[in-house]
């Protein structure tokens, strides 16, 4: 899932939530994830204790009684450990795979994700990072549906937990948080999320995404000097974005350049933005003060 820099996030039509769709998941509350993680941990510890006890019985106490040999006891113990380990691993691997798959589906099939996700969240004995990845999917879904305040809350909860093998997803959660925070006007959260991404390695796609979000943050907060720093390099980097995002970034940089009195570069950026943005998209940006007047 790649969160998108939308020209008018507040005005984006939310996904249909009437009827069957949109009713499957409740409104998120931060305590829910912690409770589920603790419940999973308890189940796993109980299972480990039960297996340990069974191994002690099979390998230590049973051999020599009722004609059971030590080899047989160890063999059955090994099989038991293997069976439990495989069952837990397969369950977690399936849930993690499903979370990854749903994350891809969020952009185009949010209704389906809304229906499938509750079933996955109900699974028991998941390791912490797998459950957190499911909540990451939930956050992406709420972001896609335009429920940004809930998405911010979900992202914060996800980031508060260790992500383990899913640590590679941290930058994308931070960018999701930054975008949702910008949408809901929580500038401090957006700043913190963007700031955190500067301390970690990003893929090229994430660098482009951060460029768009950071530009929007800087233009929205009037940090025009920061927005216009390395302006040519930023425009060059923006050229690697899809057309509409590239256009939106140019439009925003044009606003900052204009406010700083750099009329020549503002005109150049604005002319490019007009070629790259759909007229409706440009109009929406203008309404938010993120593009120069017509």
């Amino acid at each position: 899932m790649t969160p998108t820099l939308t020209p008018n996030p507040a005005g984006r039509p939310a996904v249909e939530t009437d009827g069957v769709s949109g009713t499957a998941l409740p409104t998120f509350s931060p305590g829910r994830m912690l409770r589920e993680i603790q419940r999973d941990r308890l189940i796993r510890v109980a299972l480990a204790l039960a297996v340990g006890l069974a191994v002690l019985l099979l390998a230590g106490w049973l051999p020599g009684r009722a004609g059971v040999t030590a080899g047989w006891g160890l063999f059955v113990s090994a099989l038991l450990v293997l069976a439990v380990w495989v069952t837990l691993s397969v369950g977690n691997a399936k849930a993690a795979g499903a979370a990854r798959g749903l994350l891809v589906m969020v952009e185009h099939q949010p209704d389906q994700v809304e229906q499938v996700l509750p079933g996955l969240l109900e699974r028991k004995a998941l390791v912490g990072w797998v459950r957190v990845m499911l909540y990451h999917t939930w956050a992406a879904l709420r972001h896609r549906q335009g429920r940004h305040a809930e998405a911010v809350s979900l992202c914060r909860s996800v980031l508060s937990q260790p992500l383990g093998p899913g640590e590679g997803a941290r930058p994308s959660v931070l960018l999701l948080l930054a975008e949702s925070a910008l949408e809901s006007g929580e500038m401090v959260s957006a700043y913190e999320a963007l700031f955190a991404t500067h301390a970690m390695p990003l893929t090229l796609g994430q660098v482009l995404q951060r460029l768009g979000l950071q530009t929007r943050y800087e233009v929205s907060t009037g940090a025009d000097d920061a927005a216009c720093q390395h302006l040519t390099a930023k425009a060059e980097l923006a050229e690697l974005m899809p057309g509409n995002l590239c256009g939106a970034t140019h439009a925003m940089l044009a606003v900052s350049a204009s406010r700083r009195g750099d009329a020549q570069r503002a005109a150049w950026l604005d002319a490019r933005a007009r070629l790259l943005c759909e007229p409706e998209q440009l109009e929406q940006l203008r309404e938010q003060g993120l593009a120069l007047p017509a």
């Binding site: 030590a70 080899g71 047989w72 160890l74 063999f75 090994a78 099989l79 450990v81 293997l82 380990w85 500038m187 401090v188 700043y191 913190e192 963007l194 700031f195 500067h198 893929t203 090229l204 660098v207 951060r210 460029l211 950071q214 943050y217 800087e218 907060t221 940090a223 000097d225 920061a226 720093q229 390395h230 390099a233 930023k234 060059e236 980097l237 050229e239 690697l240 974005m241 899809p242 057309g243 509409n244 590239c246 256009g247 150049w268 002319a271 490019r272 070629l275 790259l276 943005c277 759909e278």
Partner: protein, 300 residues
């Protein structure tokens, strides 16, 4: 946290990796041979049962061994299987990172490094068809950008043979194959590709695919000297080429060339200005040598 403190500035485009020995782009024949050697093939189904078999075998062996080390045998096998599984997962993750890095190199137009990386990675991803496809796409796009259009067509063909006919990715590849064919003077091949695309997309020629299709049609018009047809084909160039982003410059440049040939100099200048607003004239001429004429006239 102090919100007024400026955020660190986003760095400029990442530079190329450390220089290495130049990698000579492969010929069409060499690429075909390499792709045949690295044909993607799924792992046989029995492979996934090997770990279970190893543990079961070790457990059976332990019955015949009375010593203490015989009792440890199944546990050792189990540990070995777990270690091997973890090692294999790490290797797969490393390969995926390498494939992504190669794609990024190609996006940043570090052609030499992208080609070398894709070429050397291909034999290592034969059991991962998705990554294999990504690398072949990198090879195709890079070769096309370098002007080795015959070799690029080999890569595009390789991908097309493995994709369903109506797949959006397949249609984009067909457009690129058509442009490569026109540019290497295989006009009939290019025309055949365009017909196939037309039969699938019908009148729905908006969006990136439609824009790419119209660009290919303009290349055809230029190569076959049907300039007026090219101009008629794109009545609203700004809307038509917008979905391509910066690459829409190629369409505007080709339209400018067609307009120039039909004698409409004012409209040609306007179209060329749009093209050079998006990409410098030198870059346009590098991508499509026919546009060098327009650049020379503009700079004269």
């Amino acid at each position: 946290m102090n919100v007024r403190k400026p955020l660190p500035s986003t760095p400029a485009l990442p530079g190329p990796p450390a220089p290495a020995e130049p990698f000579r782009p492969p010929s069409a024949e060499a690429l075909a041979a390499h792709l045949a050697t690295c044909e993607p093939r799924p792992l046989p189904p029995w492979v996934r049962f090997v770990p279970l078999g190893v543990v079961a075998f070790a457990a059976l062996l332990s019955f015949g061994v009375a010593d203490w080390w015989g009792a440890l045998l199944p546990w050792s096998a189990l540990l070995g299987v777990v270690w091997f599984g973890v090692w294999q997962r790490q290797q797969t993750a490393r390969r995926k990172v390498a494939v992504q890095w190669t794609q990024e190199l190609a996006m940043l137009r570090h052609h030499d490094h992208a080609l070398r990386s894709a070429w050397t990675l291909l034999p290592r991803v034969v059991h991962e068809p998705e990554d294999h496809g990504k690398l072949v796409a990198v090879v195709g796009h890079t070769l096309e950008d370098l002007g080795h259009r015959d070799a690029a067509a080999v890569a595009f063909d390789h991908l097309l043979q493995r994709m369903p006919e109506g797949h959006p990715g397949a249609l984009v590849l067909r457009v690129q194959k058509a442009i490569a064919a026109f540019e290497s003077d295989h006009l009939a091949d290019g025309d055949a590709e365009l017909r196939k695309i037309r039969s699938v997309i019908g009148g729905r020629d908006e969006g990136p695919l439609g824009a790419a299709y119209h660009t290919a049609r303009l290349v055809q018009s230029v190569r076959t000297n049907h300039f007026a047809e090219g101009v008629e084909d794109v009545p609203d160039p700004v809307t038509t080429f917008r979905p391509l982003g910066i690459d829409g410059a190629i369409g505007h440049g080709l339209l400018a060339y067609c307009l120039k040939q039909t004698g409409d100099n004012d409209a040609a200048t306007e179209a060329w200005n749009r093209a050079t607003l998006l990409l410098p004239g030198s870059e346009l001429a590098r991508r499509l040598p026919v546009l060098a004429v327009m650049r020379n006239e503009a700079t004269a």
